[in-house]
Amino acid sequence: MISKVQTEQAVFDREPVIPEEKTAISIRKVNAWYGNKQVLFDVNMQIKKHRIMAFIGPSGCGKTTLLRCFNRMNDTIRSFRLEGTIKINDTDITTKQADPISIRRKVGMVFQQPNSFPMSIHRNLKLPITENFPNIDKAKIEQIIKQKLQDANLYDEVKDRINRSALKISGGQQQRLCIARMLTIEPEILLFDEPCSALDPLSTNKIEDLLVRIKEKYTVVIVTHNIEQARRIADDVAFFYEGRIVESGTAENIFLVPQTELLERYLSGKI
């Protein structure tokens, strides 16, 4: 146990210090619990702007828990408790004073299962716009809806049925609708919790292309079970195991020269 912690520390020491202005999310000494069960242990990490950071690791290792800390989604779980600091734009978002609503407007999230509302495609996109920009005029709403559907590579596929139920389009299209919906509130950071796990390869491809394209404008953090996916799109990778970050660094380093036996075994499919 002790030796594992030491290796972990050693790995961190190798990482170059990133200047503040290039950091989107800065995580220090984060520990988290569900009730009495600790699920994150001393997590430290810098997530860089305009890059894709992928969290990889076996199931139940804390990737999603950490991701859901970034937009305070864990607030909905009563037994959840967190210690440590998570800074976005130099403000600690974990404190009681931090307003979860304004955090979530800066940090958008797409979930594992497409969760478009049981309403028309148009209404799905209009709801968050009117919610976040109360006095916006109609023409502007339509313009944003069109723009964001185009950004999500969905506009051409749905422009003729924009007033039909969002539940009638395919799972992949729904997931891109959820991405468009998230973009309508103009977030800075985009969180993806295994966005492709319920999708076929073709839809997965489309979403991966989309992620690579939009990282110019946003910072992307993605949780994935799919090592190949991380290899294809990630700039940086963090490898989680049992609530700890075992190794993190650029995608090249992680995939080509893993430093720990755990990561090596994970990459070769043994754990």
Binding site: T76, N115, F117, P118
Partner: protein, 308 residues
């Protein structure tokens, strides 16, 4: 041996189902045979007369209107109340003593016989403070009491009666909205309040409509509350014509009958001698309830298909 037991069990289940169906159909067929002669255009469009002469007895226009009035007003009172309670129970209530008392209270209320709700209504609404809902008793010396019977008062009694059923159905509808919708909405920076009003309630729409229809069915079928809180008059007792818009407030503050009390007034088992009219009104009542149930089933099944 097992085979015999199996087939015995199967035929027993089959027989039980058959008895239910036969009971249901024989009631309907019996009513039709007894009452179809009473039903005519005139029967449906004229007001009833309190008389022993069958030729002058008139029809069921105002009882139908009475049923309609207490159903609509009753559900309009019960629904906002029920939705608010359902939202509290499913979205805000913590697991503590108060919540469990609230749940027990709802269960108890659903078990209270309607005649008890009615008698409580009589005690409450005859208090002079509630005179504005019916009328004050005049002409009796020393009596400072409200009349305590009117369409308003009756609708309130009905609202209390259906409240537990409507709350439970609404609560189930709200709880059936997937967590993922709530998470999606919260993650988009919506407050909890807008999440509930703009995402959860619209998604629970079908369940809420079902709750409304079930509640309406119960109000339409109830007799005890009408008997005590609407009173013993077969006609509309407000100024005539009762349907005139200048009189609507007075009509609601006065009494009348509904289909259920109309049946009672005309049936020899109640206080009348015109069985055929009572059966005719029963047919109309049953048809209204069957229609409502069909609509509820239709909405329920469409909702199920959509969630798949």
């Amino acid at each position: 041996m097992n085979k015999i037991r199996d087939s015995l069990q199967q035929s027993f289940a089959w027989l039980s189902a058959l008895i239910t169906i036969v009971a249901c159909f024989s009631i309907i067929v019996f009513l039709f045979l007894k009452g179809y002669k009473a039903i005519s255009f005139e029967f449906l469009t004229t007001n009833p007369n309190p008389t022993f002469q069958a030729q002058e007895a008139g029809g069921i226009l105002s009882p139908m209107a009475g049923t309609f009035l207490i159903t609509i007003i009753g559900i309009l009172i019960a629904l906002p109340w029920a939705i608010a309670t359902a939202i509290y129970l499913s979205e805000y209530a913590k697991k503590n003593l108060i919540t469990s008392y609230l749940k027990i209270a709802i269960d108890v209320l659903s078990g209270v016989p309607t005649i008890v709700i009615a008698i409580f209504g009589v005690a409450l609404f005859t208090m002079p403070a509630f005179g504005f809902l019916s009328s004050m008793i005049e002409g009796i010396e020393g009596a400072n009491k409200a009349f305590g019977k009117s369409f308003f008062v009756c609708s309130m009694g009905m609202a209390v009666m259906v409240l537990p059923y409507v709350i439970k159905t609404c609560e189930e509808a709200v709880k059936a909205v997937p967590v993922s919708y709530r998470e999606a909405s919260l993650a988009l920076g919506a407050s909890k309040r807008s999440t509930i009003t703009k995402v959860v309630l619209p998604s629970a729409k079908r369940g809420i409509i079902t709750a409304v229809i079930l509640g309406m069915g119960r109000i339409i079928g109830d007799t005890a509350i009408v008997w005590l809180l609407l009173g013993g008059s077969i006609r509309m007792t407000g100024p005539q014509p009762w349907w005139h818009f200048a009189n609507w407030l007075d009509t609601l503050k006065n009494t009348g009958s509904t289909l259920t009390t109309y049946i009672f007034f005309n049936s020899p088992a109640g206080e009348g001698n015109k069985a055929e009219l009572a059966f005719g009104a029963s047919i109309v009542l049953i048809i209204i309830i069957i229609l409502l149930n069909t609509v509820a089933d239709f909405i329920g099944s469409r909702g199920a298909v959509k969630e798949e």
